[in-house]
Amino acid sequence: MNATEITTQITTAANILNIDKWDYGASFSNDYSVQVDRGTAKQLKASQKQVITLRVWNKENLVGITTTSDLSKTGIKKALKQANIAAEFGNKNEFTDFSPLAKDPIQVKEVDKKNPLGIKKLLKILREAESKLIESHEAIKSIPYNGLSESFYERIYANSDGAFRNYSKSQAAIYLYARAEEKDKKPRSSGSVKLGYGVEDIDIESCIKEAAKKTIAHLNYSSIKTGKYLVCLSPEAFLTLMNAFSSIFNARSIIDGVSLSDKNSIGDLISIPALNIYDDGLNEKNISSAPFDGEGTPTKKLSLINKGKLENFLHSESTAKIFNTIPTGHAGLGSKVSVSPDWLVIEKSNECSDLNMALEHKNYQGNFVYIEELNAIHAGVRASQGSFSLPFEGWLYNNGKKRSIESATVAGDIKYLLKNIINIENEEELTTSGISPHVWINELSITGDE
């Protein structure tokens, strides 16, 4: 079934059921993925998925929702009926409506259409990648976590007011996480992830090299003494933290009382003035970009922190109404609509005279901890309290020499961290979750085995 047919079918069923106001988001996808184990195909997977989320408004203007994978006439009718029943329990305190921007023009990135390579070719490519990675160092015994996938999907948003938009995309991903073992030492593991619009776009060689380099580099490890350290966060690590604490910018979280910000926080200085943060879902380097959100609002670039000051919040239709502003294109689709960032871009502002430019992770000769990757985010971040305590992979630098840290956690407070940035390096790096330079923090608590 295509987008027009679904919309027609919903319109017909809604008329029969006397439902005047509705909208829906739908997704159709074909996904293919492979995993290998020392040259053997481990799991080969294909799926065809279709899912639709329907919202209806009843006569009291309360919203109800239903999600289903049954797109038959009966299924759609049942979904409308269920959503209508759910509307009786709709939130009387916060009215949701169509986005006022659901008919505004959208920017759809022009990307060459990719065709599926198919399982056999995916398997061949992944086998070769696995083999190269294992051969890259004698200590690398296996690649326990690996996968190559390609996905082809279409997303649709439409409503009873005539809004209709859709886009089709393809995306491919490879991940290689190697496990290295040496006699009388603990096993070490590290890896790399790369994305592309299609498999042919992915730089598989660099994924192999990066996974090998990271894994091997951690073979000679030692424990670290518990204490406070000067810390350099890799672009990936800093983006991980900012995404974990994105409730600071999230209007939904503010209304729900789970954010460190409040309605009046716009204009507050929450970091050093040298920091700018944008949400930029349409950035040309963002492979996962979507031209509109769950409510059909166009995606756009939004400044979140400008010279250290909180400049904008992320909004859905209903939060924007409460804050007397317009939606920003960050909504999901639900009876209570969620809000989340798309793709963060972090940069040094032009008010950077107080930074200690001598702190460059490639050249600095002093003692510091380099945090390459933060783990266990779901367990170690208390977003509503602002605190974190996270295991990490990283190095202890001492007079220009680096040694992998055996196992350790870093703990701190996001407000403290943002106010204690002492350098933002010049070079920005592209990661799978955004763009950021290396960021230095004056002092963070590290717990090690000593």
Binding site: Q48, N91, Q385, S389, P391, A411, T447
Partner: protein, 474 residues
């Protein structure tokens, strides 16, 4: 490309589908598969969220789908689809056959038809009608959030309910033919307390399987009191000082550490990956002799219990560790094929879009002989972890868990509350350090995310003492 040109009929739940299923399985075998498995699902779910004194979300969902798995030698191909017509299922079979590059029809298997239906759903067909209505759920959730309104410091109150109803048909070329109905209900309470610069959280989750009336019987007042107490106790707590120290882990959800840090390493999936340090340790000592650990799917009403696993096998009680000695791994069909460990009724998946894998069910450390007080009294300087948050385990077995509610132990007594603690270690080092087990075993429900998606489990243990562990803090 193999194609099927057979007139479509469709799988219908509640009716006999044997002939159609046999045709589809036979089709796969005739094309050269060693083994064909069909997992067909019909689901009906709903969730309700109460915030402060209002219902803010009611979200029903329903759907149907099939997961088709084919084995050839030790390889497998898996296809999922929403198309339950015969044509759709056969197209998926063809796709899986093509994936595995099966071109020669020299399979080692015969298909002699499906066995007589094992109908595990007979006594369960009314479950969906017996669960509380949305009105009932809403009213009780609002009572629970009202019960949390005890203090001006309480700034956020939430109650959430989710009901997952699943009807499954499982058929495979070894003759397995079974149907079952599963019903999981879960309810959670969350609170945030705030006073000036101080902030704390409290949360609890409760859950059951196969008891439609369970939510009606839930003691929301008791739950609200527990959550409130946690948040108030932790509101003005200092950060814990990092270091190595002995800890006492509370019962119930304290068992999440064993589940994450050790339980996953006893799944055959981990042997296949080469990521468990225990793969060659069967019948060897891997834990302190005070530790006996069990995984089973049999405890009545427990969140991880099941009548059959997602490969159609009845669950068993698996003694994983007996007095410190490793006795068994949890195995599914692929695990048995690839590692030789016999299936344990542990093949589980979130839904039809995942292939089953060896997963835990109700997993716990057996009770010992000590009282909680004896454990605490045995420590001069340490930490009591009364309530655990989430955690994770890395590819090398290293784990990290947040302590939601913790207290310092000084000279055998509990003293001040501390926050920000995380427990860090790896199973191989920690298991021999569990030196004392209490006599107060209790289970707690949870969700476990892994290779075959998120599945319902229970974790559990009595109070236990770990002689030394790294505590992360400030």
């Amino acid at each position: 490309m193999v194609s099927a040109s057979i007139k479509s009929t469709e799988i219908r739940f509640g009716e006999c589908n044997k002939k159609l299923l046999e045709e589809v399985i036979f089709y796969g075998i005739s094309l050269g598969a060693d083994f064909v498995e069909l997992f067909i699902e019909n689901s009906d779910n709903s969730s309700v969220l109460a915030e402060e004194d209002f219902i803010t979300t009611v979200s029903p969902s329903f759907g149907k789908g099939a997961g088709i798995r084919i084995f050839k030698d030790k390889r497998d191909g898996f296809v999922s689809t929403n198309d339950l017509s015969k044509h759709g299922l056969m197209r998926s079979i063809s796709q899986a056959i093509e994936m595995l590059d099966i071109s020669k029809k020299n399979n080692n298997s015969n298909f002699n038809g499906l066995d007589k239906l094992k109908n595990y759903s007979k006594s369960k067909i009314n479950w969906l009608n017996e669960v509380p209505t949305i009105t009932e759920v809403s009213e009780k959730l609002l009572l629970s959030t009202k019960s949390l309104k005890k203090d001006k410091k309480v700034v956020v109150r939430k109650g959430s309910y989710a009901r997952n109803w699943q009807e499954v048909i499982i058929a495979s070329s070894d003759g397995t033919y079974a149907t079952d109905i599963r019903l999981h209900q879960t309810v959670g309470l969350n609170i945030i307390a705030n006073d000036a610069q101080y902030r704390s959280n409290g949360s609890r989750r409760f859950g059951s399987h196969g008891i439609p009336n369970e939510f009606r019987l839930w003691d929301h007042e008791k739950a609200a009191n527990e959550v409130y107490e946690t948040s108030m106790n932790m509101l003005y707590a200092d950060y814990v000082q990092a270091g190595q120290m002995p800890v006492v882990l509370a019962n119930k959800f304290g068992g999440v550490i064993f589940h994450e840090a050790c339980g996953h390493l006893l799944e055959t999936t981990q042997i296949e990956r080469g990521t468990t340090p225990f793969s060659d340790k069967l019948n060897e000592k891997i834990a302190h002799e005070s530790v006996t650990a069990i995984d089973e799917g049999l405890s009545e009403g427990s969140f991880g219990s099941l009548s059959i696993d997602d490969e159609g096998m009845e669950p068993e009680k698996s003694i994983l560790i007996k007095d410190g000695i490793l006795k068994k791994f949890l195995s599914d069909r692929a695990g048995e094929l690839r590692t030789g460990h016999k299936r344990t009724g542990s093949g589980r998946r979130q839904n039809y879009s995942f292939a089953a894998a060896s997963r835990m069910r109700n997993t716990y450390i057996a009770k010992g002989e000590f009282t909680k007080e004896e454990l605490i009294n045995s420590i001069s300087d340490g930490l009591y972890c009364k309530s655990m948050g989430g955690g994770s385990v890395g590819a090398t077995g290293q784990f990290n868990f947040a302590v939601e509610e913790g207290y310092l132990i000084k000279n055998g007594k509990l003293t001040k509350p501390v926050k920000g603690a995380t427990l860090i270690g790896d199973a191989k080092e920690v298991m021999p350090k569990i030196s004392m087990c209490g006599n107060d075993l209790e289970l707690a429900p949870g969700f476990c995310g892994s290779v075959s998606g998120s599945v319902n489990v229970t974790v559990g243990q009595p109070h236990i003492k770990v002689d030394s562990i790294t505590v992360g803090g400030r």
